[in-house]
Symmetry: C2
Subunit: 307 residues, 2 copies
């Protein structure tokens, strides 16, 4: 594999936090984002514009964005599920990008966002247009693209058709998301190839560690030329409407893996490990990353040899 | 990737147990092996013939093998580090195979087995000959083939030279082992290709989950045509002389991943998950596999949909 640049989209402030029981203070969310920027994050899903009654952790979306301040070279993303979300996102004046979610199954769509796949696809053109009018990029995440917690396996043909419909609306990027952590590397290869058949747009991955496949899945995606990957500092995360979903791929683990494979990411592994540990302390949960436990290899302080 | 058969070598009774503090009763070790056979294991590293003062968990090697009984179609393996180990292994009359360890660094070799790489290689022909005289296969595991806990990165040229020397002695198989869990999939691809340049023998992998890369590493090996992989039920294991090493790839996780990728292994994921949980209960430690926590996907009992 040739040396290439890989890109990590830091989703800890949104996907990382949204499923945690303890609601984090607004100033701590802002401090987290500052720590992530200091650790090299250049694209950050900072918050979600979702119903505060359904996801209390995201109720302070506007206040978080107001507190981040200008950071040239850093793109901030807001997750949106509908027109109302885009209106709120645009009104902040603080975002570079909205990330719109299209569920690949109606069961998950109804649970996650009260929409079927068709309803979500139907609203995409207006979402795209509202964002474009405000000068924001629109990226689209296909949720449960590898499998659904309610329906199990989802035919690849359905993914191909959904991506074709999404591509027709001309977003800036499409993420093929394993929302629940059921994908294996062989699935990644076959599904990304299927998506490529109908979509020439830039692609992004999103993997969870539910079944410990996330790092291998990213490697499989890199082999397909997909170089942009969501990850969460500390490996926290999971969807409140995706039962059993484990944490996101940990940013520090993914960056270490990519660096060892000859890629650059711009992420400082030690610094993002510390940021992950810090937010986990705030949440009162243990960090889930391998870097937080075993640390990187090689280490600068190997154990003393046997003499 | 075409559908192929993959093979899992079950190392739970040896690599899985050897680093656990609680010494397991001989009858529980025998019961574990019987559970693993019932779950589909057909090649099992049953014990190690090592110094009981250094690895107390393996002190009852002969008694374990005496208690297993005949199981047609199941190959039992004994780990050996020297002539004395082979003598003991042969004397049991219960084994099909000895697995001899060649350390790729002198630092690890002295810590693990009191031998340098050169000393270990020098003893291999006689080990091979003693095993052959007793009708046993000899397989050779190259330890710390991806990196050393004491020396850090190990040049690929050193691996190539060690494997060339091993291949010259004509063993039945060579395992390229990531003893400490530092390999990423890109390393697997490059090192297995380097090994292939000098060795036409069957190859085997051995990965640890220290940095959550084991499943992706196996997938990378499968893409290189290497279809035999060590794994441990419950994901337990680690080397007492490899500081910081995490558990082995869990058999149940690996079997699930391989099945999802279109391969057959003969392993019953649910049964080996139960076997892993059982031995972890005996040890008083939590199982480390994803299957023991999240379970397989798809599940036969999906959560109730949103209605």
């Amino acid at each position: 594999m040739k040396d290439t640049t890989a890109h990590i989209v830091e989703v800890c402030p949104r996907d990382g936090l949204q499923n945690e029981r303890r609601v984090v203070a607004t100033e701590d969310k802002i401090a987290l984002i500052h720590r992530l920027i200091a650790a090299g994050a250049r694209r950050i899903e900072a918050t979600g514009f979702v119903h505060p009654g359904r996801v209390p952790q995201m109720a302070d979306a506007e206040a978080v964005l107001a507190g981040i301040g200008p950071h040239p070279g850093v793109a901030l993303i807001g997750l949106v599920l509908n027109r109302r979300g885009v209106e709120r996102a645009v009104a902040t004046g603080a975002l570079d990008e909205v990330n719109y979610v299209v569920p690949l199954t109606d069961s998950f769509g109804k649970a996650n966002q009260g929409q079927t796949t068709a309803e979500s696809l139907a609203a995409l053109p207006v979402v795209r247009s509202m964002a474009a009018d405000a000068g924001l990029r629109t990226t689209v995440t296909v949720a449960v693209a590898y499998g659904c917690p309610y329906e199990g396996d989802v035919p690849v043909a359905r993914l191909r058709e959904a991506v074709r419909a999404i591509a027709d609306t001309g977003p800036d990027e499409v993420a093929v998301a394993d929302t629940i952590g059921c994908a294996v590397p062989a699935d990644v290869t076959s599904r990304l190839r299927a998506v490529r058949e109908v979509c020439a747009l830039p692609l992004r991955t999103h993997f969870h560690q539910t079944r410990l496949t996330a790092l291998g899945n990213v490697h499989a995606a890199m082999l397909e030329g997909v170089t942009v990957h969501d990850a969460s500092a500390g490996g926290i995360g999971g969807c409140p409407f995706a039962p059993g979903a484990g944490g996101n791929a940990a940013t520090e683990d993914l960056a270490w893996l990519l660096h060892r494979g000859g890629h650059t990411t711009g992420v400082d592994v030690d610094a993002v490990t510390r940021a992950g540990r810090w937010i986990c302390d705030v949440l009162g949960v243990p960090p889930r990353s391998a870097m937080a436990h075993a640390g990187p290899f090689p280490t600068s302080h190997p154990p003393r040899g046997p003499g």
